[in-house]
Symmetry: C2
Subunit: 213 residues, 2 copies
DNA sequence: ATAGGCCAAAATGTATCCAATTAGAGCATT
DNA sequence: AATGCTCTAATTGGATACATTTTGGCCTAT
């Protein structure tokens, strides 16, 4: 996949934005990227447009490209949208999850509890939630959700650092409730637990406005 | 706005896709567009990437660009997402609507009733709903909603043609309920009426699978 | 000392050219 | 008649070169 030049460039840059190598607000110079990949600036421009479509990069005509930055209200909005969309997505995914995926989800919840550093926690948490949506084939809904996860990734990391696993007990319980609903095919429970999970994060997040200054 | 070349090209093409000049599945040849706008192919490629980000155009590497097409299930998915997102958007918009906007909304509901041809109906209906969201400043939520409206525009037109204003009485009543909620600042009523409005359309739509063949 | 304007360097946007890939017509085969 | 194949023309992708715009440092004037 992504055999095309712009595709590969975009994928690499996306990875670097998600893992924090490229921070929000940081400028991306076309020629620098072109040199890194041994390509001309044209494929790089295409890649930047792709990432703009994903909301990860903000382009300004005749000026340049920056890693997208969210204000506090934009971040809260992202969580409000998650509260509406992810339960819907989960409800459509649950009937189609395979036994292997259910096993993996169960294992992930345990692993998340054992996670001792922030990067591991973030990676596993992301994997758990996105895997729980694997029963739905790619479409607009999953695309929206993935986009929200991507654009808020940096703030999830910053938030985890500040909290230093403070609310981890509550988080683990919520994950178990979601998992229980999934395993028993009790979609409403899973949906409600998920909505509560996201909502609590949103409320807690808005108590840390310092993340956005 | 959109003073840049790719911006202008994209805007024109978007317009033509929305008003039906360019039909879903139709191919878009870079050089043809470039000639039309008296520009080179480069800005056109940028424009196509922009439209791809909007979901209006589908690009295939080394092959070309086509106006995006929705399957029936994708269209239903779009309406499911609308049911979740638009009531949220409306609830955030209502407190910030100006007196002028409320007057305009009232007028639009009346105009929609008087609409005698399909294009007028589509235009006014779109204007009514999008104006009801004008109290919210641009952001992820409004962007998602606008994208859904754009990608489903063609199917709304086809649906209206088939129905030939059959359910228009119900539609008008729903619009009045939404408007009443907005005017009285009764957000829950407006939200519920809007959700019912979208839901009914979705259900009715799935009774016309011939639209997707 | 600070604000404002000017100029040079750097970065982005566009055009043109060439290479690589694909699509479709026409032919051959079953 | 239908299917598969080949080859050519058309189209897209990428690189280089040039034009345009912006940015930021520096100078001047208040």
């Amino acid at each position: 996949m992504a055999s095309s030049s712009p595709g590969r460039v975009a994928e690499t840059l996306r990875e670097e934005i998600l893992n924090g190598t490229l921070a929000p607000g940081e400028r991306i110079v076309q020629e620098d990227v072109a040199l890194r990949f041994g390509a001309s600036r044209q494929p790089v421009r295409d890649a930047l447009r792709l990432l703009e479509g994903d909301g990860l990069v903000t382009l300004k005509t005749n000026s340049g490209a920056w890693v997208s930055k969210l204000s506090e209200s934009e971040c809260v909005e992202a969580y409000l949208v998650r509260e509406r969309l992810e339960p819907l997505l989960l409800s459509q995914s649950i009937p189609n999850l395979t036994t292997e995926q259910l096993t993996k989800l169960t294992a992930l919840v345990k692993e998340i509890e054992k996670a001792s550093d922030i990067e591991t926690f973030l990676r596993l948490d992301r994997e758990f939630h996105l895997l729980s949506y694997a029963g739905v084939q790619e479409g607009m809904l999953s695309e929206f959700v993935e986009r929200i996860w991507n654009t808020t990734q940096h703030y999830r990391r910053a938030f985890a650092k500040i909290n230093n696993f403070a609310n981890s007990e509550v988080t683990h319980m919520e994950h178990k409730l979601i998992l229980d609903g999934i395993l028993r095919g009790d979609s409403p429970q899973a949906e409600q637990a998920l909505e509560a999970h996201i909502r609590r994060t949103r409320v807690t997040l808005s108590e840390h406005k310092e993340l956005f200054r």
